[in-house]
Structures are given as C-alpha cells and as structure tokens.
C-alpha cells in the first residue's frame, strides 16, 4: 500500500470549517487521515509555510478540443489547469464540432484520460450547434458524462427554449449554465458602456444587457424549478437580483471571473485587446458590488473562465479580436492578490469559492478533504511574489492582461488522486 504524508501545512477545508496546522496522510490515492501525529509513510512532502487546500474546481474552461488546437488542446489546457491548482475543470462545449451529442462528450473525457493531468467534466450544449433554436441531446449528453449544459458565450435568446431547457435539465438533475446577455442590446459591443466607451470611441455594452437576461432566467428558474447557474456576472443589479432570488428560494447560483474583480473599464485606455472580455470589464461601482456579493455569500463561486487564443487572433484591430483571457494559470493568484491581500476575504472564504462551492453547483463529489475521498490537493505558497510571464505558461493562449504584473501567492504542487502531477521548481 503506497502512503504519503503532507507534513506541517496549513490545512484548509472550507467544507468542514477546518483551518489548522496539520498533517495529511494519503493511502493508495485516497485521503486516509488528517492528524497532528506524524505516521511513517513511503513518501513525505514538507509543507511548512504552505496552504494545503482541496484541489480547485473550475466551472467553465475552454479546452478548444477538438477544432481549435491552435488556441489550446486538452493536454496543454489541463496541464495549465494543474499549474493553476485546479484538479477538476468543466470543459466548455463551444468546440468545433460543438459538444451537442453523446459521442462528443465522451471524446472530451477520453482526451482528458489520454492527457492524464486533471479531471475533466464535459459541459454539453443547450441547443444544437449553439444555434439557440432546438434542444441538443440533453439526455444523451448527460449519459455521456455531461455535468451541465451551456451555450457558452451565446445566451439562449428565446425565453421559450430556455424554459424548456431548464425543465428538461431539471429532470436530468443537471444545471443550465448561462452567460446572461441580451443579444440585441449587446450587438457590436466591445466594452462597458460608460464614460470610457465614449472617450475611446468603442461601442458600449450597457449593464442592462446583462440584467435583463438575469431577470428573465431567474423568472424561468422560478417557473420551472430548474437550476440556472449564471456565469461571469458583472453588474451591481445582477448581484441585487441574485440576492433577491436566493432569498425567495429560487434555484439560482452565480460565479465571477478574476479579471472582472481585478480590473475596470478604465484599463481599456491602452486598447489592449487582451482586455476584451465578455461580459465587458465594468466600472468601479460594479466591481465593488461584485466583491460585496462574494463577501456576503450572494455570489457562489469564482471561475477562471479560461479562454485561450493563439496570439495572431488577438493581434488584430480591437473589433476583430475574440473575447477572452487565458486565465487559468493566474486565476488563484489574481483573486488572492485582490481579495486576500486586499483584506476583503480570508483564505478559507476564498478557497470555499474555488472548491466546495463550484463542486456543489456541478453536483460532483470534489472540492473537500473528506476522509476516503481521492486525494485531490493544491499546495499553495501564500507568501510568494511572482511576475506573470506568458513564456512560462503551459496554456497555448498567451492572451492575458496580467503579463508583467506581480502577484501574490503561487501554486507549488498539485496532486490528483494522490499522485503529484504538477510540481513547481
């Protein structure tokens, strides 16, 4: 029986309010014991000064496999995930072809197994080919391993289709993930509508484009009893609506991205195409509301929303480049810098947003340090300072606005099923 001891670390398990200097014992890939004792094991990892956290869980990551291999691949994307401390990620279905059928979902799982880095849960499409017109094979997708359904960046515009998707997915006990955005109000939009869009002459996307669909989807969740999960919420009113809906017991959850917490629309004065994201970076009042929503528990989770792109796709005119940031390798450090260093959240609360909460949304058994569970862990040096250098990225996407920025805290080791799959020198 192979045994491993992770000794002397600050063990944080948000699911059980655990935050103590302890030793964690792994036997045959499974968490066997969390103890003050020092049992004899085959292998010892010294973790003094480090946080020992459940492996992070990311609710939406673009692996671009198949069809977008110039931007990312399952191997590069899942290795990048490990470097970011993530042991389970949900893969967006907006590949080519779209994951709207069982074979495609199984291919995602097969590719992840071939790569052998982190665990991957496929997300299936809500509608066939993301066209928003007819439901994809939701039942077959679920049978093929899809943990939820989403049309990625394309919000389903038809309220009728969205209603039926929520009803059908409820039957399958799966959530519907949605980036809330009204297509008519956001058409042609490049950034948040406000002072800076006026000065820069970039077409704006008003906050209302998001809030209209947040309101609609909450109403549909109430109508159907289905679970809607709002991805990348970005506005003050979205947080308010979410709070109200949760108070009424409606099945709605939400996440935010690190970049929407770390930056505002003012940063676009550089016309840096790496700042072009969907929804757009908002103004300070919205950012403040998002942080407050994380603090009071209204917002459930933080997702990297990793959207890697080959450099030539981002080296174009601002209106020609696609939306997104290659973010999975910087996600934890960015939010730790903004929220923990900023004195807004402590480590256990931050890790709750990155582990047990997203695992619950996805309905998977992960994100905790339960005895008997597979040992999926992230070892984090909370004191590390490091400078982002895309040349060291494992992701093929180097599209990050954090290039050259100095961040606090770094993932040093990532363990999946008791096996050290990533270790930083």
């Amino acid at each position: 029986m192979a045994t491993m001891l992770i000794q002397g670390g600050r063990v944080i398990d948000p699911a059980h309010q655990l935050d103590q200097l302890l030793n964690l014992v792994i036997e045959d890939g499974v968490i066997a014991e969390i103890t003050t004792g020092i049992p004899r094991t085959d292998e010892v990892i010294m973790a003094q000064g480090m946080i020992v956290s459940p492996g992070l869980v990311d609710l939406h990551v673009a692996l671009r496999d198949p069809g977008g291999e110039e931007d990312e691949g399952t191997a590069s994307g899942t290795k990048a995930a490990l470097a970011g401390g993530f042991t389970t990620i949900a893969a967006l279905p907006d590949t080519n072809p779209v994951v709207d059928n069982r074979a495609s979902a199984e291919f995602v799982i097969l590719q992840a197994e071939r790569a052998g880095y982190c665990r991957v849960v496929p997300l299936g499409a809500i509608t066939r080919n993301h066209q928003g017109e007819e439901l994809a094979d939701l039942g077959q997708l679920a049978a093929g391993g899809a943990g939820g359904f989403t049309d990625a960046n394309r919000a389903v515009q038809s309220a009728e289709i969205m209603r039926r998707a929520l009803e059908y997915a409820r039957m399958l006990n799966r959530p519907i993930f949605a980036v809330p955005q009204d297509a008519t109000l956001s058409a042609g939009g490049l950034m948040h509508e406000g002072y800076y869009s006026t000065v820069l002459g970039l077409r704006g996307i008003p906050a209302a484009a998001e809030e209209i669909i947040v309101g609609r989807d909450i109403a549909l969740a109430e109508l159907t009893g289905g679970h809607v999960h709002l991805m990348n919420i970005s506005t003050r009113n979205s947080v308010e609506e979410l709070k109200r809906a949760k108070g009424m017991g409606i099945r709605v959850t939400a996440d935010v991205t690190p970049h929407h917490l770390a930056m505002t629309d003012a940063s676009l004065v550089t016309y840096d195409t790496n700042l072009k994201v969907l929804p757009p970076l908002r103004s300070q009042e919205h950012v403040d509301a998002l942080i407050e929503g994380l603090r009071d528990g209204t917002i459930d989770s933080i997702s990297s929303d990793h959207r890697p792109f080959a450099s030539e796709k981002k080296s174009r005119e601002f209106d020609q480049v696609p939306f997104g940031v290659s973010s999975i390798e910087t996600a934890l450090a960015v939010v730790a810098t903004v929220l923990v260093d900023g004195g807004l959240l402590d480590w256990p609360d931050l890790l709750r947003l990155l582990t047990v909460n997203p695992a619950k949304i996805l309905g998977i058994d992960a994100g905790t340090l339960d005895i008997g569970r597979p040992a999926d862990l992230a070892l984090i040096d909370p004191a590390a300072h490091w400078t982002v250098d895309t040349r060291q990225f494992f992701s093929r996407g180097h599209n990050t606005p954090f290039q050259g920025k100095t961040l606090r805290s770094r993932v040093m080791k990532t363990i999946v099923g008791g096996e050290v799959r990533f270790s930083r020198q």
């Binding site: 042609g188 869009s197 820069l200 002459g201 970039l202 550089t270 005119e317 601002f318 209106d319 020609q320």
Partner: protein, 315 residues
Amino acid sequence: MKSTWSRRHVLGLEDLSAAEITTILDEAARFKEMARHGEARHSLLKGVTICNLFFEPSTRTKTSFNLAARRLGADTVDFTAAASSLSKGETFIDTARNIEAMGVDHMVVRHSTSGTPFLLTKHLGTGVVNAGDGTHEHPTQGLLDLFTIREQRGRIEGLTVALVGDILHSRVARSNIWGLKKLGAKVIVCGPATLIPAEIRQLGVEVSYRLDEILEQTDVINLLRIQFERQRGAFFPSIYEYAQFYGMTSERIARAKSDVLILAPGPINRGVELTPDVADGPHSVILDQVTNGLFVRMATLYLMQLAREQALTTP
C-alpha cells in the same frame, strides 16, 4: 516654440496639452503666411518618406495629407486596403511592418476601428499620425477646426461652440471637444438623445436636444455629418425629421448671432445637416476649413519629423 514639442506621434487631442495644440496652430499659421507670400513649397522634409496607410475610404483627408507632405518636400506613398480584405490573411500590423521595412519614416493612418493607430505605435518605429480612427478621434480635423475658428475670431477662449448632430459616432466631435475645452471654449453638444453618448457631460460639455434653444448663445456651430455607414439600426425616425430639428437653414441662421460661424467637417449631406444656401452663404467657412487643413497637416508632419530627429540623435 520647438521646446514645447517632443511628440513623435499625434494620435488625438486628448493627449495634447493646450501649449502643444497652440504650437501646432502657430506653426500652421506660419506656413499659411509663407504661402500667402508665394512661399508654398519647402524642403524641410527632404529625404523623408511618408506613407498614407488608409484602411477606410477617404478622399479629402488623404489628398490633404499627400499635398502637405509634398509641400514639405517629402516623398509620399499610398497604401489603401479595405480592412475587411485583410481580415482573412495578413493582420494590419503585418501590413504596416512590411511597409515600414521599405523605409518609411511616418505613417498617416486611417482605420475604421478605434485605437488602431495607437496599437500601431506599439509595433512600429515610425511616427504615426491618426487620420481618423473609428469613432475615437480625428486630431488633424479637430486642429483645422480650431485653426479656422481662431483665424476668424482671433481667439478660442470664451467662445461658445456647438457641435450638432451625431455625437455618438463622430471622431470629429471627440477631437473638437478635447481641443476646444483645452483652449478655453464652452462646448455644447446638440443632437437627438439617441446620438448623444453615455456620460458625455463628464467631458465638461453641456448637452442640448434642441438646436433652436441654443442658437442665440452660440458663436460657432459645427455641423457634424450624419454617419449613415456607422449607424446600426434606427437612431432617429427619418432624415426628414432629423433635418426638421437639427438642419441648419437660412431661417435658423436669421435667429442666430449675426456673426455666427458655420463649420462642417464634410463631406456634407446637402439638405440634411445644412441647406445649400447656408453651405454657400456668408457665415460658412467650410472651404476655409479645407484650405487650413493643408497647413495644419504640414505643421503636424513637420513637428513630428523634428521630434523624430531629436529622438534619433539623443541616445
């Protein structure tokens, strides 16, 4: 004078100080004065190559820049391409770098996307002058408007200037607002609510939806072109209704200040922004604007070349 200028690029009037704007205007006035005395051609930019890199159609701006460069003795080369035809293969950055590699000193850049000239400065060693980028800025147009107003009135400070029409899609409006505010004018933007962009008041301008209400207090009225090609969907019910509320007619001129100046950046839609009798009437300085554009562009290119030489000689 030259000590107040060190910029190798002119991307917008937002970046320029009042002193820098005045430097360009003074230099342009000097070129105009010399031309009046028969000294229209210079050899100040002899041996310098200037490329007109136009990714969007333009007739007068390109012609004006071309002529300005040649009056200074520079060699000019034109590169015109629809942005869309490039989108499949080479990026605009590759295009610009290829042209730079042929030995170009300055790029005059026009592009339908805001921010493109700024992005080019990150990739090129040449000087870059913005000849209009999307709905962001058109600095030399702003400068020639300022020049024309100053020439006609002797000053900018204290004047009330109205910008009328499509503010949302107008790069000319943004350059005018920055320049006029920096030189001390009061600025009113006037147009239908759908064409007034968000938070415009934060730029220090007043907003009006009724041309008739501001006629009596304005010294200068700049009639912006309705940008049919930039408009998505319906911003106003009809051209007819627009002309009724915002068109400059001789009847409105009669109610304005007796010495009101009428500017228009062109090309004008006669009968929409203004009627032909106004365009060709005594208050109109539209053709003066075009003339002055040449001198403003000469001044801009000349100052950019001075800054380039300074940058090359000082390590």
